[in-house]
Assembly symmetry: C2
Homo-oligomer: 217 residues x 2
């Protein structure tokens, strides 16, 4: 792709993007243990990924290692956190304060990784007007009004599947640019909208299946 | 692979396994709307996946459609739920009752998809002896004793990265066969142990990156 400035940026492959957080947590662990430098070989042993793969993945981020000693851990952590977007807070709304939605509102860990849920929406009169973990719950009808004030562009989707598509459409109409979809429903969105699917249930299905296979052996 | 009975079972590919829950939720939605039959073409329109892909994926499960009318929805749902392991409860322990761990204990949705968390472990004296959502929290040292009584074979890992590997090793030593890893740390396990990685933070990183790309355009 080419940015407005005309500079070519190589789009980072998704598998690389998924591995970078492993390097980040590996580096954090080494820092906790008092290390100052880490080589791709050492990181490779620790997390069981090929050293050449690590070097290749890290070539996408703006960091260079020194021969023999490797990467300076503090810099590596800073550069990775910055690259992965964990150092800036991205405002988000959550839609559907059910069991999973409520659980996510209570998970303060998300803010440490750059996601700040600033409001939640539901239609349940017992929930509207209350708050969870300091996050206010509004009626879904207030969304269009709210988003104008709040400047939010991420929506976390935790509604029942029967309204997943309808709520997604409303989110997109209102100006949401990225949907973090926790429902097992495959939502449809216009091409310019980002969808990140995280279906815990699909992951459970994969795990159950693999587990059954190993138990059969 | 070959089972003891000598029957060849084709190992289902992971991408197929990940798509099946989409068909399940699509079928559930159609049932809610009063439909009795669903064709792959109709399902294809609804969830935007190629009809031939759907038919191919469904060939792995024991269901056959009728020409023109398609699959009977009730049977499709029953067969898929059964195939995906959602109809049997799989007992699990959760390790690390922090922000995310506590949130997962409160998510009763997991039980509807076959995961029954029967106990949690932590070392925090303020948590040990209490319970969340009816699930008792024990001291980590009690694990080896407990697992003998409870017959649990799944461990949900939500500890800090600094102890992720150590806790995994203890789980495996105690008899855990599958680890659902929510930490961003890449744990190492013996070959016969199943690991399902669900790093919310890695998913966040992918979403932030894609979002930045679309905003740049």
């Amino acid at each position: 792709m080419t940015t407005r400035s005309g500079k070519n940026i190589e789009k980072i492959p998704e598998p690389t993007l998924r591995r970078l957080p492993w390097y980040l947590s590996g580096a954090k662990l080494m820092r906790e243990r008092g290390e100052r430098y880490i080589s791709s070989t050492r990181l490779s042993e620790q997390i069981n990924i090929d050293a050449s793969q690590i070097a290749k993945d890290l070539s996408f981020v703006n960091i260079s290692g020194r021969t023999r000693v490797g990467y300076e851990i503090d810099s590596l952590i800073r550069v990775l956190e910055d690259f992965l977007g964990f150092t800036r807070l991205h405002k988000a709304y959550l839609f559907g304060v059910g069991s999973l939605g409520g659980a996510l509102l209570r998970d303060s860990g998300l803010a440490q990784f750059g996601l700040e849920i600033v409001g939640a929406f539901d239609v349940n009169p017992e929930l509207v007007g209350t708050s969870i973990n300091g996050i206010p719950i509004y009626h879904t009808d207030e969304f269009t009004e709210r988003i104008r004030q709040d400047g939010v562009c991420i929506g976390v989707l935790t509604v029942p599947i029967s309204i997943a598509q309808e709520v997604t459409d409303r989110m997109v109409d209102g100006g949401i640019r990225a949907v973090w979809n926790f429902t097992p429903f495959r939502i449809r969105v216009p091409e310019h909208i980002v969808v990140q699917n995280t279906s815990l249930y699909a992951h459970l299905a994969v795990m159950f299946n693999r587990l059954n296979e190993t138990l059969k052996k």
